[in-house]
Amino acid sequence: MSEPFLVTIDGQEFAGQPGQTIMEIARDNGINIPSLCDSPHLDSFGSCRMCVVEIDGRRGTPSSCTTPADNGMVVSTTSDKLWRLRKGITELYVSEHPLDCLTCTANGDCELQDVAADVGLRELRYDNQPACESIPIDESNPFFTFDASKCIVCSRCIRACDDTQATHALSIDGRGFSSRIIAGVDELFMDSDCVSCGACVNECPVGALEDRVERSSGIPDKWVRTTCAFCGVGCQFDAGIKGGKLVTMVPAADSPVNQGHACVKGRFASAYIHHADRLKFPMIRESINDELRQVSWDEAYSFIAQRWKQIKSESGPHAIGSITSSRSTNELNYLGSKLMRAVIGTNNIDNCARVCHSATVKGMMTVFGAGAGTNSLDDIDHTDLLLVSGCNPIHGHPVTGSRIRRARMRGMKMIVVDPKATELAQMADIHVQLRPGTNVALYQGLAHIILRENMQADSEWLDSRTENLDPFKAMIQDMTPEVCSEITTVPVETLEAAAIYYASVPSAMAVHGLGMTEHSHGSEGVMALSSLALLTGNVGRKGTGINPLRGQNNVQGSCDMGALPNVYTNYQSVADPENRAAFSKVWGVEAPAEPGLTYPEMLRQVESGNVRSLYLIGSDIAHTDPDNLAVIKALSGLDLLIVQDIFMCETAKLAHVILPAASFLESDGTYTNGERRIQRVRKAVDPPGQAKQDWIIVSELAEALGHPIITSNDVSDIWDELASLTPNFRGIDYSNLDNSEAVQWPKPTAEHPGTSIMHIGEFSRGLGNFAAPKYAEPNEQASKEYPFILITGRNLFHYNAGTQTRRTGLSEFRETDLLEMHPVDANAMGISDGDTVWLTSPRNRIEMQVEVTNNVRKGNLFTTFHFPDIGVNTVLSSSADGYTHCPEYKVQAVGIEVQ
């Protein structure tokens, strides 16, 4: 049976697809069959038995949720007997349920209530005997509560945890009538493996698992579809609003990105938007030593305008620069770059993607001719093998992490390349636990083995789709497994197993993160990885490709928007006179020709006086940048530092002008996720105080400078202007983004469907280019004085600078940065788990608490930098990727002093 078919339900004929159950077809067609254990987001289970139906020619009353529909089937969902049975089951449920509906937090949002009403239950003939009455409510989790007495043991929470989130933190204790849901070893949710993704809370049909905020606020009065503003996965949510306040964020089931799933941050941690610390008024001060004073927007704008005019007249336009944000909208990033280029007259525009994925753009651009992820998240569900390099999606991109785990459960093969034994590494088939900073050697070594084994793609692919294979072969000829093993410390047999594994499957897909890019040779590492995909023909097909997992919500978009010193939108070179002419024409000015400075360069040129003013929008570089004391010194040396943010972040504390911005829930526009999908963000609540949306502030500032840069006060006009200037976006109309499914660029024409897989048939640069960088050691080398290599990364419960996450219940999960250390090293130095030590480098020494763990290599340390008080970045050096200036966050030579 593979053809669509017709099925009759209650006298009406409906079309069904192969594999659909009666319940699914009924639900699709608006026929309500009472049910408690079934959920559109979960596999059918068949435990509540409420959804029984009668089928002509079949005995009994099968459950519609587990019965596949079949051609010609005639189903009745309603009869005296069926309603009698359903009523009988409901009576059983109610017999063990508390009868406190009116005061129950789920009142009005309870499926048991709905079912009882449906079946017309009017009396309870059994004695009421709630099964778990004596178990206290579990209030350990900051975001939700669990009341076992209200639980109806439908197992939807367990199935969500197992099959959606794939954490497997829940189960049942006892059996039969004694069955009861437990977390972990029958412990508090907070003590269990639960990661608070909220999938169980979404599924709970009654008041057993309840969102705390929703519990106290009641049912929202407004729902607004928007995009999460944490990581680059780009999950879609429906924000539930009541009285102008955020009540809940419900993950959108119809989103191809998150498919109804969420992580703890997106689901529960957007409440920071209502935090008392929000910046509410513009503030200025003459000098850094003065107190900031509250002013009107006009005063703030004229203060900036006056100073910029002065600086420009004294030092020229290039003394001014701006760093925009991967956390803000595409529209802001475009407008910010337009402000610099069209109003100030400089290309000194950059964004914070500089310090994360700039090396990806460089590396992939070199090999494929485009810097963006080649495929889509959906491909994870289809690939035969996933090569995970230098990323920890369980923490950094949790919804994608769950998707990867689900794929593992279906049998997808997996290789993880990481110096850390991350959760994914521990569940991989092969973990390549290489020495930090040796990615280039590793991937060239794997390519060497693949060629030796003659497992490369067929010659038709190599001849017709690629170039420069011979220089590539020549370069990697010496990267024998033995040499590669010597450099990476990975055993030859592991290298051979990984290479053969990767090359032996029909489709292999690679995902990578900052563990590939934040190196002194990050760009070369991405080139080596991309060349491996090219060598095996793993590009341009479903389930293949090179797919960077973007750190912040709009890393892809901020770069796509041309908030970079050398390119306009979609990487159109500033140096190209044709491009410049096109932008100049639309902007009505002569756009500057000279490429601008990257932002690390801007900072370096403060001391010399070449750069005198910076306009920072949503970038807390005084916390997040390495060699942090030097960054603070540079920022402090500016004549005018303007910071536009939602909180008084570390950088804002150094500013002359503070511009209070709107958060994502207070803004309109678009974000582009890591798979090039352009998605709407929608204003759901008003910003606090006088705070304004980023793009409005920039446009008003431009007006104050005497050069308006928007044609109307509608954000859609910004998109439509930039799309008209960008061939790959030309087919994307803002009104379509609003009305239809989100689209993946390139979409050159209105008729073009968008691009889920790039480089089919032809690469963006024509032929795929084997890049053959020569392996070089990382800049940072361990020494006698600084014998440890420190790796920095992320934790699930926080987000980069932590300005948002530290102002939520997430701090209850993690309230400081911990220094992870191998037990052998800890023993040798007499350090125990929980001890405080000095972490030292030539730049600084800071106090940190040690966590002893086998998950790091001997001689390696790992930490996060979510907490400015700890100051991890003050220890780090300014060493960076030679091509892109992306800092070497992942390899830092440091020392440890025992206190």
């Binding site: 029984v52 007997k81 039969g176 029958d186 459960m409 092969i430």
Partner: protein, 637 residues
């Protein structure tokens, strides 16, 4: 260059076969590890649960959930266990338990050890290793079946060893099933097997003398040639053909009397031939559901998956049934042969025997038989059989709950479809058949489908293995053609004297008054049309001390305790039914309780996910109908 001192070699290849990842399905080893852990160290701490989770590739919650589910995964300090299965209860196991407790034992209970004809079964943690000897002189045969042992066969063998000369051989066999004649000794006299029984240890000396001086046939225990006993002649033994003849672990000897001849025919004829033969033989699943076996095998055969499983359901949980145990102890090769025929027919790569832990001797003998069959090369190179032990759950005899248990999960029933033949163990096509079904399949291949198919009734072809136990004068196990009445079965092979009631087909089966049995045909359809079920062929008898109300409460308590808890009608319904039954017929009965019970009956029967909930009201209904006086209603007398 980098510093070697700081680095060592890193890189892990997880498993040679890259086994994938699914913490929800750690496999059956988790149950074994937990059983050993809890047996030796008691209830594991939270920390230990986390360690076990990490060792077995699952999570703490899943381990804890498994511990919470299985009754054997609880610390047990009992010094003795008394069987509370129906047959043993009918013979007074409660009194025995009380007595043992008074004697100072810490008494635990179990539900059926398959010793139903020798009950009440009392089990201590001891292993009775069957003794025997080889020789070329006098050839003696004594059953080592667990029931025979309970009836004293080991003591008899001990005496024999002292009495016979050292040329004599005592061969240990399975039981003929004639338990009223056990302990029974068979002696080869002039090439004919003569039976003697029941033989007590004290009879041995005189018996051996009688044999030696040629007067054996005059010994008081002499029964005559075994094959001429009316109890044997009246049977048609297909599945039981070899049980009781030869040492089951003597593979060569077993082959001589037909073992693996069915497999040879299956291999010669091919998969389609096997299906044809099974269809001709009319083989229906003997676990109770009676599903045509050739349909099941065909469905699995048609699946394209390169990995398929064959599972023998040896979780013989219905009290009053023990034929699977008898086969595994008496002719394990018939099970192995049936599984191999199935594996080759459907293209299976792995075989499993899910064996209840209450059968330690069956495990020991079956494991030896599997090992010798493997060594003999019978398995081929791509197949093997693993024994997995249950951990205390009646529902795990249901095929989908059994598969969950084999996957190392709580034994919760799965909704069907998908059927196990499409997505069974670890998602692969799987045949789950009862032990007796596999033995029957092997017998059909050996004897020929039409030979078996020509006997029995229209819809119940071949033979039924009837196990009669409980409060009955002649407990027995016989294999006879389907057909005739249930009363005939008793009259020809046992006795209905003083039998008041008979429950047919396990605890979920209907309960009948003795006098109505002559109107019930002995067949799948005969029992069904009498609102009962044939089940696994157990007939548990109750005598004059039959207490209908006590039994009904006992059944419902058992169902409540054994409900897996997945589906609502069974999870809550069994508890509510028990509460109602405790009131009905007493002063606490409330108005409407009987109507409510009838309503609950309909809900449980119509909507439960599996037979436990679906049939739980079956014995209640049939007992209340026949003995209303016990429930405060009008007397039927």
């Amino acid at each position: 260059m980098f510093s070697r001192e700081l680095d060592s070699l890193y890189g892990v290849i997880m498993t040679e076969e890259y086994s994938g990842w699914d913490p929800g399905r750690p496999g059956h080893k988790l149950l074994d590890i937990l059983k050993e852990e809890i047996r030796t160290k008691g209830q594991p701490s939270a920390e230990r649960v986390r360690e076990i989770a990490s060792i077995t590739g699952t999570t703490a919650a899943k381990v804890r959930g498994v511990i919470g589910y299985y009754s054997e995964l609880k610390p047990d300090n009992s010094t003795v266990r008394v069987c509370m299965g129906e047959s043993c209860r009918a013979r007074g196991s409660e009194l025995v338990a009380e007595f043992l407790a008074k004697e100072g034992d810490t008494v635990g209970t179990l539900h059926c050890a398959g010793l139903c004809t020798s009950g009440p079964a009392v089990l201590r943690d001891e292993e009775i290793v069957p003794m025997g000897c080889t020789g070329t002189g006098l050839q003696l045969f004594v059953s080592m079946d667990s029931i025979s042992q309970k009836l004293g066969s080991e003591e008899v063998v001990q005496s024999l060893l002292q009495e016979v000369d050292d040329t004599a051989a005592i061969t240990r066999t399975g039981s003929r099933g004639l338990f009223h004649l056990e302990p029974m000794i068979e002696v080869d006299i002039d090439g004919t097997r003569h039976a003697f029984g029941p033989v007590q240890a004290t009879d041995v000396s005189s018996l051996v003398k009688a044999i030696t001086n040629g007067s054996a046939t005059e010994h008081p225990t002499a029964l005559g040639p075994i094959d001429s006993l009316s109890e044997m002649k009246s049977q048609t033994r297909f599945a039981l053909a070899r049980v009781g003849i030869e040492n089951p672990l003597n593979l060569a000897g077993q082959k001589e009397i037909g073992a693996y001849s069915g497999l040879t025919k299956a291999r010669d004829g091919g998969a389609e031939f096997v299906l044809q033969e099974l269809e001709a033989g009319g083989l229906r699943g003997r676990g109770g559901a009676g599903f045509p076996t050739h349909f099941k095998w065909k469905s699995a055969m048609q699946q394209g998956d390169p990995i398929k499983h064959v599972v023998a359901n040896a979780d013989e949980g219905d009290a009053g049934t023990f034929i699977d145990r008898m086969l595994m102890e008496g002719d394990p090769h018939s099970l192995i042969e049936g599984m191999l025929i199935c594996a080759e027919t459907i293209g299976a790569t792995q075989g499993w025997v899910y064996l209840r832990s209450e059968y330690p001797q069956a495990k020991r003998i079956l494991q030896s038989a599997i090992d010798s069959a493997r060594e003999d090369g019978l398995f081929g190179k791509d197949f093997d059989i693993t024994i997995a032990l249950g951990a205390g759950s009646y529902v795990c005899g249901e095929e989908t709950a059994l598969l969950e248990s084999l996957e190392g999960r709580r034994g919760e029933v799965r909704a069907r479809p998908p059927y196990p033949t499409e997505q069974g163990l670890f998602g692969h096509p799987t045949i789950v058949n009862n032990v007796l079904t596999f033995s029957m399949a092997a017998a059909i291949m050996r004897e020929g489908g039409s030979v078996v198919g020509n006997i029995g009734t229209e819809r119940s072809k071949g033979t039924v293995v009837a196990q009669i136990s409980g409060d009955v004068g002649i407990p027995t196990c016989v294999e006879i053609p389907f057909g005739g009445s249930v009363a005939d079965l008793f009259n020809n092979h046992s006795s209905l004297d003083e039998v008041v009631a008979v429950q047919v087909g396990g605890p979920l089966g209907g309960v009948f008054a003795a006098e109505e049995l002559e109107n019930i045909e002995l067949s799948f359809e005969g029992l069904t049309s009498a609102d009962g079920l044939l089940g696994h062929g157990g007939f548990v008898c109750y005598g004059s001390n039959f207490k209908p109300r006590t039994e009904v409460l006992g059944w419902m308590r058992f169902f409540r305790d054994e409900s897996c808890g997945k589906c609502t009608p069974c999870r809550i319904g069994t508890q509510r039914a028990l509460e109602l039954l405790e009131r009905i017929g007493t002063d606490s009965e409330k108005e409407g309780d009987r109507i409510l019970l009838a309503d609950l009956d309909e809900v449980m029967t119509e909507t439960s996910l599996c037979a436990l909930g679906g049939l739980a009201m079956n014995p209640v209904r049939s007992t209340m109908k026949r003995w209303p006086a016990s429930f405060g209603g009008e007397s039927n007398e």
